[in-house]
Amino acid sequence: MIEIRHLTRVYDGVPVVNDVSLTIGTGELAVLVGTSGSGKTTLLRMINRLVQPTSGQVLVEGVDTATLPAHLLRRRIGYAIQGHGLFPHRTVAQNIATVPRLLGWPRARIDARVDELLALFQLDPATFRNRMPHQLSGGQAQRVGVARALAAKPDLLLMDEPFGALDPLIRAKAQADLRAIQQKLGTTLILVTHDMQEAVDLGDRIAVMDGGRLLQYDHPARILTQPAAPFVRDLIGATDRPLRLLSLKTVGDLAQPGDAEGPAIPPEATLHDALAECLWTGRTALPVQGGGIVTLDALRAEARPR
């Protein structure tokens, strides 16, 4: 569990992070959103002490991080940044092995871990192990960067706009992979993004920042339906709200008994997908694979705040 207590950072007399408190449960994925310059990166960098807080505390599993030597703390916290920051003079395998090597893992364990992570990120170990970073595509380098951050099984993973440079298709894939990997490993994750859809899709909770302050920290559905400030509502984008709400639930959640015409929709598809399918094919109900139907009326009801 990560507890951030009254964290503040002042630059030249201006607080760029201002008295922020929030708690992230073990295995949860928290997303930080906010306009450019709102202090997201600074907040993230105070957690692994790349930036020294002016005041306030960060507790990891109840231990005040200020009491630990910074380099030892950082070996327990994975950090992935936009532009990946891979070491250009080291192979992919050596890059991924950075923290395990610092921790003195035995050779065989490191090699096994590198191959395991490469496979997890769908990079064939035999092909990619010995490549240099400049021989990777942007998306591959990004995935190696995340693999490197995860290598030593950190308790906590910090990601600063990790998917910013990826094209929409790879981005969607990378998001799905990240979510699956995070759930599989049970890693606590804090992710910064500018993309509201990404925040809603990935986050267990969303933290909205503006001018260094934390405006709201809540589940995506509540951020969407009960924005705590006009700024939060604007950030979500009022016109996209109903669709984002629909993307939070799956067809399986809403299936009801009945019969409907046409091709069936998989239960793990989102309600957003189901609505699109209804509109596109002109149907008012869709059969769900494995039984039941989902109706346009039910979808409509789900798209409104309750």
Partner: protein, 244 residues
């Protein structure tokens, strides 16, 4: 291909000349007058060349260590304040004429190799220092950030990240220093250091162009070969990081 064959040929020719200078006498005969000898035989050219190379290697090694250590010191922590000072000192070292250094060093160190080493060391400091400085300070920001975030200690960052990344530029600095020193070392012979300058000076004193020519040629070919070797190492280091 040409880039490899030419230096190889030059190297072979040089080797043949140093092992058996006498066989090249007909080539140099046209540059002598009054039946003067065409080949310098006072001292073996091979041993002069080896001594010349040893002096240059020693001086370059000293400049490299000093320049690199200085660059490391002024790019981190409290040392940053001394950056302007270090730049001035190395620049002065480069502008101060080596001949003047020799003249000043002889009364202190006596005749021989000592003053030459000092002159070459000072003269070669600037290229290594400036290049090492550029290499250590122009690191991509995300790389430096990642190194810190992974939990590398400052010392680990220096050895594992900063120095390897600065290597191509450092090699370029060493190349400049080595080539400059190779030519400059010849003046060491004016204060009795055993360098190829001896052949050139003997030629000047006896108006024997053949001597001047062979001294100059040996130095010139050595410079080309050393330049080439450093450049090859540099290219390899750059390629590895995908810089070319």
């Amino acid at each position: 291909m040409i880039r490899r064959i030419l230096p190889a040929l030059a190297g072979l020719a040089l080797l043949a000349f140093l092992i058996s200078p006498g066989s090249f006498a007909p080539l140099f005969q046209p540059f002598t007058r009054n039946n003067a000898p065409a080949i310098y035989t006072q001292t073996s050219l091979l041993s002069l060349t080896l001594s010349h190379l040893a002096i240059v290697a020693l001086a370059v090694a000293a400049s490299t260590v000093a320049g690199l250590v200085l660059a490391i010191l002024v790019t981190r922590g409290a040392g940053r304040e001394f950056l302007p000072l270090a730049r001035t000192v190395t620049a002065v070292g480069q502008t101060f004429p080596p001949v003047a250094v020799l003249a000043l060093a002889v009364p202190v160190l006596g005749f021989g190799t000592g003053p030459t080493l000092v002159a070459l060391f000072l003269y070669g400091l600037l290229p290594v220092f400036e290049n090492a400085l550029a290499g250590l300070s122009n690191q991509p920001a995300p790389v430096a950030e990642a190194a810190r975030a992974m939990g590398l200690t400052p010392r680990q960052r220096l050895w594992q990240i900063d120095l390897p990344l600065a290597l191509p530029l450092l090699l370029a600095g060493m190349r400049l220093t080595a080539v400059i020193s190779l030519g400059t070392a010849t003046i060491g012979s004016t204060v009795a250091a055993r360098t190829l300058g001896e052949v050139i000076i003997a030629g000047l004193l006896s108006s024997n162009t053949a001597f001047v020519l062979q001294g100059g040629l040996v130095v010139g070919i050595l410079a080309v070969l050393i330049h080439h070797a450093f450049q090859a190492a540099e290219v390899r280091a750059r390629r590895r990081m995908g810089l070319d």
